[in-house]
Symmetry: C2
Subunit: 333 residues, 2 copies
DNA sequence: CTGAAAGCGCTTACAG
DNA sequence: CTGAAAGCGCTTACAG
């Protein structure tokens, strides 16, 4: 083991093994049988490489091969289970396919998203999965200009295939569940409130659609002021509810776990009135089932989505293809 | 924008701009002023590069420069806030220093950890931060053989500097808080139970030390069967408590949010007896404060730890240096 | 069966 | 002030 000196190269090994660099290279990347090098030479080279702590210089190797095995992912945040699971499973799937996954977190910042995409391409990523990107088309354009495949996850774009949750259907089911429980537990049937998110966002819009459709199918009208999509932060959810002190039964559709935090905070301030409130959340969190009043959560099918996304890699599809993946509804109590 | 053809290189740009590749290179990496190229040439080259959607081939550039800017991190899981935050902040800090962060998740598997380290080194990472590694010394050895700096985070090793939470002090404080609340709320003073983790793990051992020290300082004896460190999963925590149906007051020290899930599950099965139980958890989760009976949580100082870790980069220190970073105690109710 | 040589895309010391 | 040339560490078509 040479100390923090220069790294061992195939030339060093060639010298030590009394072989040519070509032979060493062939041994080290497993093509020696094809090149009919002697088993003895191969064994010697491998032993020496091991002794020297050799690790191939992938930059050089890939440069020569004119390909990287890098597949990149950008992800907005690690602040909830959803994106954490996406990153984790992405790595697993990529590795299973012999690729090198690089995921970078872009803080929900459109410019950072773009810079991260550019950086990944500089590192020769062969494919880029943009998760929850604010402006996926800008990234797709840049990628295609660089000859790199890109795929949208979680949020749809128009230029490349997008894999997203079936937000509308998930929201429909969740809304039905909350309505059912309001009727069942509280003997009440009225319009729920929709809390969290932004109407301009695709996912929020789709969920609101499902929310409204469910009410429509139940013959319940939703007053405009029941739609409280004032952002994603816990604080904004708490703020938007601050003045709401129900003196009877009430139900809430919570859009995302981040907003859920704010809703639960509000819920606790209600004292005994809290027992008259039911809510459910679009998103999943392991502690969700322990929250009083929470009747269910929607879990997005991360492996389903990623499996779909990976199936596009290397198979360019019609631009703008949109794949909807169903969600799973967890019912509590 | 050329379609998914070969990528634009400096030679392409040189031809288009009627300049030499050397000049293009100088313009593109900002050394053109130093080389006294004309402003006009620089402007032309930059315009053309822009038009062509040029992105430097970092593999080639770094190969030539004989350095990467890559700093790698291995992380066990993204299944709790702690590691998610670590990954996120690591990226931020690395970028702020002009480095390219690559984090890979190793599923708490010692072999995967090692393979990931090897892979990162193959990609020429200049420094590797091993977070929560099962066998940090094995990784350190491999890194040092390859001439790569490594640093341990969260779990200590003996060969390179380690930055870890002051688990003992944090556990001491949390134990005191739970004991106080048991006395205050329930008028009871007795030994808490320690649930979750493995005694063989450094962090669990240190926390148990703090737990025992606090009891000692309060003059409370801890019976052996009150130490229930049967693993990290929610199920094992729930299982270990399954037979415990307190008929009076009780208190629990929960080691990690993962175990907390199991404890809360158990707690809910107690019915009215639940009111006689207080617990606290070493780890932080935003929903923690909403759990009935939870009196406090310990939040590890992620930015403090990472700041320290980064301060070691490029400054080789005495092997085995151990830096303890204090935790923050959140009190609920 | 095996090695010398060219070349991946870049950077930079060097010579003019 | 500027460009030709060498070389980073590897791979592979090619010639023997």
């Amino acid at each position: 083991m040479n100390k923090n000196k220069k790294k061992t190269t195939i030339y060093d090994i060639a010298a030590l093994a009394d072989a040519s660099p070509s032979a060493v290279s062939a041994v080290l990347n497993g093509t020696w049988e094809k090149r009919r090098l002697s088993r003895k030479l191969a064994a010697r080279v491998m032993r020496i490489a091991e002794e020297q702590g050799y690790a191939v210089n992938v930059q050089a190797s890939l440069l020569r091969r004119e390909k990287s095995n890098i597949v990149g992912m950008i992800v907005p945040k690690y602040d909830n289970r959803y994106f954490g699971e996406i990153a984790e499973q992405f790595e697993e799937l990529a590795r299973a396919r012999g690729m090198f996954p690089v995921v970078t977190c872009t803080q929900r910042d459109p410019d950072l998203e773009f810079e991260a995409a550019r950086e990944l391409i500089s590192y020769q990523a062969e494919c880029l999965i943009s998760t929850g990107a604010t402006d996926p088309d800008r990234i797709s354009d840049f990628c295609s200009a660089a000859g790199v495949q890109s795929i949208n996850l979680d949020l749809p774009g128009t230029k490349v295939p997008s894999v997203i949750s079936d937000n509308r259907a998930g929201a429909y089911d969740l809304t039905m569940l909350i309505l059912d429980r309001c009727l069942q537990d509280l003997g009440w049937s009225g319009s729920l409130r929709f809390v969290g998110g932004r109407l301009a966002d695709h996912n929020t819009a789709a969920r609101l659609e499902g929310f409204l459709a469910a009410h429509r199918d139940r013959g319940i009208e939703v007053p405009d002021h029941h739609v409280l999509a004032a952002g994603y932060s816990a604080d904004s959810a708490a703020r938007v509810l601050a003045d709401f002190r129900p003196d009877g039964p009430a139900g809430i559709f919570v859009n995302s776990t981040i907003s859920l935090e704010g809703v639960v905070r509000w819920h606790r301030t209600l004292g005994t009135r809290a027992a008259q409130v039911r809510y459910g959340c679009f998103d999943w969190d392991p502690f969700g089932s322990f929250l009083p009043g929470n009747v269910g959560m929607v879990e997005q099918d991360v492996s389903g989505m990623l499996g779909k996304a990976f199936s596009f890699i290397g198979h360019p599809e019609t631009p703008g293809t949109q794949v909807l993946v169903p969600c799973r509804l967890h019912r509590f109590d």
